[in-house]
Amino acid sequence: MKHKHIQHLYWRTGFGILPAPLNTLSKNSKIEIVEHLFKASKSVTPLKVDTSEINALFASRSDFTKENRKKFQEISRKKRIELNVAWIGRLANTDELLREKMTLFWANHFVCEDNNILFIQQFNNTLRKHALGNFRDFVKAISKEAAMTKYLNTKQNRKQKPNENFARELMELFTLGVGNYTEQDIKESARAFTGYNHNFKGEFVLRKALHDTGNKTFFGKTGNFDGEAIIDIILEKEQCARYICEKIYKYFVSDVVRKEHIDEMVGVFYPNYNIEKLMRHLFLSDWFYDDENIGTKIKSPIEFLVGINGIVPVQFKNSRQLLYIQKVLGQTLLNPPNVAGWKGGRSWIDSNTIMFRLKLPSVLLNNAYISKIEADDSDSMMAMSSKNRNKNNRFKVEANWNVFNTNFKEVSLEALENHLLQCHINSKTEDYLQSLKKGAKRDYCIQLMSLPEYQMC
């Protein structure tokens, strides 16, 4: 398989690929490489932070005091940061690469947020477990997650007074897309999810007295439907498969949707909803490797961050700073903007985020230096003044250049851009890059990472 195509595959299923594995894989065929990816993601390794403190806090029934609950909230807050950092660490270093990338995708599909560390961790691992499984099982599992019953108010959804929040988002965001149901469908299906709740451990509980067992008329069918039956009826609609395929296409292939490709994907996905089968079809298709799809997506903040880390590993001494960077870039894991999640694509980019993205590699890896000062540019002297430098260099990080030196030992200065940049380089930019190819490989690496082109994958 061609280098360019392997790199493309590894950017979309992961966060890029280093020179050595790239060389090894290039001797293999497309099928072999894709199968290798799936095989490595067969297993599921849950992501867990140490929560023994909490177990100790509630060892017996008498421990459920107001004071202990308050302590629990404090621990949860702290542990949520740990989970965020652990998740990024996982993305940067995992054998189950595709499963992790899919988990990241689903976390922005089944969007959820919860202060309770136990619930959100469990939710996160449910995403991981079903990431390549069956979409039907997936939706049902999500509907019963403690964090979800809290987030979309299903636990306030009672027979006497239905709460429509979950029913609405289930159809609008999780399965069908807006406009493919009526207000009446929402009202009726909300009744089917009445009585949903959870216990302290985060296990699903159906409160029978609050569950509406009457007949519901939903999408033209009438019966005493429960939540699972409603999900089954929704999934009978091909539109559900189409909606999911479009979202997967936009995430893994291109912002520009081609209907013929979606039709093909729907043919694979519907009616069995096998996610692994769909993804295999995608990565084996010829059109996935079309030039128009290579290096034409804007990296998400997490792809950008984890990608940098893959080239030069960065250790944060203060994990709050890693949180801060995510916030400014516009994507803090476990903290989505709302139930629609991050819009992605161009909406990652505005005046603030573009400058921050361009500046970040040098700030993290090189004391905020990108290039050496050119003698005739008085403005640059100003910008490089020591006062300014300290402001930019407030992150306490340790960049491990030894890893870079080892991994890129065999890569010449001229060839470095082929490993760092996925998109086509304009001739004028190429001219400028030529003028920079005089210094050390390390400096050139920073310069390449500080180009708008580095934002593409």
């Binding site: 912002d255 916030k327 593409m456």
Partner: protein, 411 residues
């Protein structure tokens, strides 16, 4: 800074459309350096004129308008909201029937001064009860079955702005409302941070070596365009606004800071026409009372500090503040001591040049609800936009909104 003479000479050169000039000129590769002298020219031209500004405040999540502007004599109100209704004694009375939420005392003072106009029953036909879709509708000024890619402020920029900084969102990221076809507004919470980042000489060199091919490439071109506008705007915003500091007294929270920075921008004479701030958390499906108490308090106290800051600097007369939320909430409360997504809602207009002070129109009927049990809309939000565009920002509202809407007479 260029002297007036230099500017005059440059302006003679600039007889053709400036954009065309930039494109055709051999200076194209140094596009980067052009805006500074053009800007100098524009600053002379527009100085000393009354400079009207619009401040938009978005209450995200769907603020419960019925517990904001309260019909405290209406039996239906108390019947439908047995545990979350505000009692007659708690309501701040504006007249014999209607009062404000107790957290809105500062708004009562604005009301008494004739600086507040309350427009009731604002919405649109076939209301959508999804946050995101309804917010998009408000942001893009579309109909409920119409999907637009540009925001109404973005289209205003396309139509009449010369720089991205003519609209600033006080946020870390930019809403679709401020995204146009040719122009995007600027998103920034802290102008200094943006400025410091943009000053690296490496970026100047990269931009010197870009050409039109870059700009035409789909997503990469978008990155280059964003980079160019960020660099030129960052410098201007920072250098202009650093001369002024805002007064104390703003609540110490994110929203208070947004309005504080906005006041600093306005009082420094920054040539920005539209500011955009937002306060979130209004999606009160459960335990609404405490949440709304707190949020409306944050809103009202920040507004009061903001207005008095502007008054001290004599800029309030040229500022109009528009507050909206993507929808109101259902009349009947739910089982979780909260309310579900509804439809029509109230809009607040705050300013010193209001034609119609106090109540613009009557509050919505609680007996004549739609099929979902929600308030029916009476005033299309786009008629408010049209009025603001036409009478305040003085542009052709039909071009910006792609459609003709009635004008209201609150300003």
């Amino acid at each position: 800074m260029y002297s007036v003479n230099v500017v005059a000479r440059i302006s003679n050169v600039l007889v053709m459309d400036r954009r065309k000039f930039l494109k055709n000129s051999t200076l194209a590769s140094s596009l980067f350096f052009v805006p500074s002298f053009v800007k100098a020219f524009e600053e002379v031209a527009s100085s000393s004129l009354g400079y009207k500004r619009l401040v938009i405040i978005q209450l995200s999540g769907g603020n419960d308008g019925l517990n904001t502007v309260i019909p405290y004599r209406n039996d239906i109100y108390y019947k439908e909201r047995p545990t979350i209704a505000l009692s007659k004694t708690d309501v701040i009375k504006l007249n014999d029937d209607i009062g404000l939420h107790p957290s809105l005392l500062p708004l009562k003072r604005l009301y008494d001064n004739g600086n507040l106009s309350i427009i009731n029953g604002v919405g649109y036909p076939n209301p959508v009860r999804s946050h995101f879709r309804s917010m998009d509708i408000w942001h893009t000024a579309s109909g409920s079955n119409e999907y637009l890619q540009e925001g109404w402020i973005g289209r205003y920029l396309d139509h009449s702005a010369k720089h991205p900084y003519h609209a600033i969102e006080l946020n870390e990221s930019l809403s679709i409302a401020l995204k146009g076809n040719k122009f995007n507004g600027i998103a920034t919470q802290n102008p200094k941070v943006l400025y410091n980042m943009s000053r690296d000489p490496y970026f100047k060199n990269v931009l010197k070596h870009q050409n039109d091919v870059h700009l035409s490439e789909h997503n990469l071109g978008y990155l280059y365009k964003s980079m160019i506008s960020a660099e030129s705007s960052a410098k201007y915003i920072y250098e202009t606004s650093k001369t002024v500091s805002a007064k104390d007294g703003y609540p110490k929270n994110q929203f208070g800071n947004q309005l504080k920075t906005t006041a600093q921008f306005i009082n420094s004479g920054l040539q920005t026409k539209v500011f955009y701030a937002s306060l979130g958390g209004f999606d009160t499906h459960a335990n609404q009372k405490n949440t709304q108490n707190r949020l409306l308090g944050v809103y009202a106290n920040s507004i009061e500090a903001f207005v008095s800051d502007l008054k001290e600097n004599n800029t309030f007369k040229d500022t109009l503040i528009l507050t909206f939320s993507e929808f109101g909430r259902r009349v009947k409360q739910n089982a979780g001591m909260g309310t579900d997504h509804g439809a029509a809602n109230n809009v607040f207009i705050i300013g010193d040049q209001l034609k119609k002070q106090g109540f613009y129109n009557d509050v919505s009927s609680l007996s004549n609800l739609d099929d979902n049990g929600d308030l029916k809309f009476e005033i299309d939000f786009r008629t408010i936009y049209a009025t603001v565009l036409n009478k305040w920002l003085e542009v052709n509202d039909k071009v910006v909104l792609n459609k003709s809407f009635n004008q209201l007479d609150f300003i």
